[in-house]
Amino acid sequence: MPRIELEYFAQLGEQAGRRVETRETSETTAAALYEELRAAYGFALPAGQMRVAVNAAFRPWTQSLKEGDHVVFIPPVSGG
């Protein structure tokens, strides 16, 4: 199973109880991985309210994942 590097920001970091994680997963898309994590940590936000970045670039939720990918789920932003 590929190992994915995860980094959590804002409320996701709080809900996951961590900022970074290396996770082995059998899920092959960003969308499926988020659902796995949502079940594990009880993330409040549905994927439809978020975006996903793979290797520091925005990607579609259908993006397939491979060993070593760095994945960040992007809650609604609130900078400025």
């Binding site: 980094e7 804002a10 709080e14 670039a57 960040v72 992007i74 932003v77 609130s78 400025g80």
Partner: protein, 141 residues
């Protein structure tokens, strides 16, 4: 010249402004976002900003590239803070120099609007009553 900075300490905005001084520019517009003492009627003591820095920088650069295409401007630069900022602190700074004022104003407004819309930065408000909350999303204004 267009730079987008994510900074975890105080930035000398006079120095940022200096980098935008060009003899072909006649109008210069800046926008600053300051930590305000109230939000939605609640008393705020500080705001903590967190950024996914690599993506925030590349998305910020995209915004600055877009304004250079859309408006007749000479130079632009933007900076966003991260970390714990008490009331009154500077959270964001944007400067746009242009031959004429209309483009300077419009481009500066575009940059702050787009930063708020799409740059991966999040704020957690610290209230005077001791509560701390991530701000879910932007309100109008």
């Amino acid at each position: 010249m267009s730079r987008f900075l994510i900074a975890d300490t105080t930035v000398d905005i006079g120095a940022l402004r200096e980098t935008l001084l060009k003899p072909e520019a006649g109008g210069f517009c800046t926008f600053e976002g300051w930590v305000r003492q109230t939000n939605d009627g609640r008393l705020v003591s500080a705001i903590e900003y967190e950024a996914f820095a690599p993506l925030a920088i590349s998305e910020g650069r995209s915004i600055l590239d877009e304004v250079r295409e859309r408006f007749d401007i000479t130079a632009t630069c933007a900076m966003h803070r991260t970390g714990y900022l008490p009331v009154g602190d500077l959270a964001v700074w944007i400067g746009v120099a242009a031959p004429h004022r209309d483009a300077a104003f419009k481009a500066c407004r575009y940059v702050i609007d787009e930063i708020k819309r799409r740059v991966p930065i999040w704020k957690r408000e610290h209230y005077v009553d001791g509560q701390i909350e991530w701000v879910a999303c932007h309100h109008v204004g």
